[in-house]
């Protein structure tokens, strides 16, 4: 009865177009007031305590860092760099788009930020070069989703936060699937370009390449510095210089340092970020994070309530009673996330479903890190499926083309996403190899 009212209130609020956060929090409030009271002060406690976690603080800083890289001219130089080396292949500019997304992804924790950052520059460039808008839109919307697979990644941070899994391990786990995804996208870029009449460019001469590389170097150093900061250098001794190779900061502190570096490079190296730009970029970007924080606190209130009324335990019992094999369970999870992904974005999806599914997954012997990567690739898919697909909206926003056209463009590219999803689901070693190599089992 309680659960029925909760679900009914939730969907009613969603249906009338109330914010997802309000649907989550509102359904709990209505249900608990009517049927299963929680002390009101506990709701007050939860609302604050849900946000009071160090690891959650990485989200705003990675978000702001991405936006500042765009404003500060780092993104433009990364794209020029990618183009200098792959521009002459068939589908060269398409491949440039994919690689630019990879470079940007290595600093950005967010896929829509990747689509927006790369798309603002690449979409006009692709059209100018003779690519169809369908090709350009598909490339951007799907390749952009690599932003959350290659570390850092906001959804992985949230997943680690909800499941108490090491974010450092999760980040490493995303690297190999991310590279496979990128290779798949590069192949698709070349393959699809054969069917359009995109021009081929001549190879860029080496002095020109050197110039572009020099200009991009500070921007390229940023992800390198973040990576070293999180994972440390191998220990070495070289004459008087020695290092014990320890890491310098936690993933949360890495986000802070990424923002600092983006400001320093944009302001003092490229001189494209004025104090005024800094002010505007922060003020305009932060509300998107404010939205995430409001969803987070309400989603965790929701999770608290369904835990209290015993839903996760019941679901786990039900799935265990079904007697599924591990692979059947994982397939079921993929189907569930596909359906959820039509309607919900990544962060709310994790906050709502992972607390229910995670204990079951662990009980079925799925590795928490592996499960995290499965969830993330599912979310990548959800980013490009209508009616609610953030990458579709952003690509539509930067191009001025309708959402449906973006989706049609994305369809062939989604084959790559689905292949990667299957690989990641059924070959745990793709996710687990790197973290186990570095940290042991």
């Amino acid at each position: 009865m309680t659960i029925l009212l909760l679900v009914f209130a939730f969907f009613l609020l969603i249906a009338i177009g109330a914010p997802v956060a309000v649907a989550l929090g509102g359904s709990v409030v209505v249900t608990s007031l009517l049927l299963d009271p929680i002390p009101l002060a506990i709701i007050g406690q939860k609302a604050f305590a849900n946000l009071d976690h160090f690891s959650l603080m990485a989200v705003p800083f990675f978000f702001l860092a991405s936006a500042l890289m765009d404003t500060g001219g780092l993104v433009r130089r990364l794209i020029a760099f990618a183009n200098a080396f792959v521009g002459h292949f068939t589908g060269g500019l398409g491949i440039t788009t994919v690689l630019s997304c990879v470079f940007f992804a290595a600093i950005s924790g967010s896929s829509p930020a990747t689509v927006a950052g790369v798309g603002r520059i690449m979409y006009p460039a692709l059209i100018r070069d003779g690519y169809t808008s369908r090709y350009a839109l598909g490339a951007l919307a799907t390749a952009g989703s690599i932003g959350i697979l290659i570390p850092p990644s906001i959804p992985l941070i949230i997943y680690g936060f909800v499941t108490e899994t090491s974010v450092t391990r999760l980040f490493l786990a995303g690297v190999i699937p991310g590279v496979i995804y990128a290779l798949g996208m590069v192949l698709m870029a070349a393959l699809l370009a054969r069917h359009s009449d995109a021009p081929r460019h001549s190879r860029m001469p080496w002095p020109e390449r050197a110039r572009v590389t020099r200009s991009a170097l500070p921007a390229l150093m940023l992800p390198v510095m973040i990576f070293i900061g999180i994972y440390g250098l191998p220990a070495f001794e070289f004459g008087p210089i020695s290092s014990d190779g320890g890491a310098i900061f936690t993933p949360t502190e890495a986000a802070v340092m990424a923002m600092l570096l983006a400001i320093v490079i944009g302001m003092f190296v490229y001189r494209e970020l004025s104090p005024r730009d800094l002010f505007r970029t922060i003020a305009d970007t932060a509300p998107s994070v404010g939205m995430i924080f409001f969803i987070t606190t309400n989603a965790l209130l929701f999770a608290f309530f369904i835990t209290k009324i015993g839903v996760p335990a019941a679901v786990t019992r039900m799935i265990v009673d079904l007697g599924l094999e591990q692979w059947q369970f994982l397939l079921l999870v993929n189907v569930l996330f596909l359906i959820v992904g039509f309607f919900l974005e990544g962060v709310p999806t994790i906050l709502m479903f992972v607390p229910v599914l995670f204990p079951t997954a662990v009980a079925m012997g799925v590795n928490p890190v592996h499960f995290g990567i499965i969830v993330i690739v599912n979310i990548e898919l959800g980013l490009v499926t209508p009616p609610v697909g953030l990458n579709l909206f952003v690509a539509s926003g930067v191009s001025g083309r309708p959402v449906l056209e973006v989706f049609r463009g994305a369809l062939p590219w989604m084959a790559v996403t689905i292949c990667v999803l299957m690989l990641v689901t059924f070959i745990p070693q793709l996710s687990l190899f790197l973290p186990e190599l570095v940290f042991g089992k």
């Binding site: 109330a18 002060a41 702001l64 896929s111 959804p155 900061f249 969803i295 959800g382 953030l390």
Partner: protein, 170 residues
């Protein structure tokens, strides 16, 4: 001054305050985070209160940004039904959605206020910062009041049709 123009005036004033708070607090949090890393790695020292302060400033900055997101309608929703429903029905749905949001924010502010009262009764303080817990817990009800104020302004100025989605999370 009519109610609508008063609301519009309040909207502009509030926007300026929000912008200022968001930027100043974000940069303060940045400074605290950088300070923590630098002190620990370069000087091999640090303050116990640093991390707690960093978290509090960041939360306050981002909740203020959440208030701003109400104004710009950036709180993600699934607006399929309102977008295909006939205009008058859609208008009712939009107003109901805003009322529900307002109700939730007022309710959370109330719960947060009760919680602050509880913390005052316990009279506990954070071991790291020495700040009384109830002062810290006041952040939530204060911000929920501002959320509510933003929703009230939207009700008065008019619940316009929603602008297209902007950049979001994932």
């Amino acid at each position: 001054m009519s109610l609508v123009s008063a609301a519009k005036y309040l909207d502009v004033a509030l926007s300026g305050i929000e912008d200022g708070l968001i930027v100043v607090l974000s940069l303060a949090a940045l400074a605290l985070g950088v300070m923590q890393v630098t002190l620990r790695y370069v000087f091999n020292t640090g303050y116990e209160w640093n991390e707690a302060a960093f978290v509090l400033v960041t939360i306050t900055a981002m909740l203020t940004a959440g208030v701003r997101a109400v104004r710009e309608d950036r709180h993600i929703s699934v607006d399929i039904l309102p977008s295909i429903a006939p205009k008058p029905v859609a208008a009712i749905m939009n107003v109901t959605a805003v009322l529900a949001s307002l109700g939730l924010c007022v309710f959370l502010a109330w719960c947060g206020w009760l919680y602050v009262g509880f913390a005052r009764m316990m009279d506990t303080a954070s071991p790291e910062t020495g700040i009384k817990d109830w002062i810290v817990y006041s952040i939530m009800p204060t911000m929920m009041c501002l959320f509510a104020l933003r929703y009230i302004i939207r009700l008065i100025i008019g619940v316009q049709s929603k602008p297209s989605h902007k950049e979001g999370a994932s």
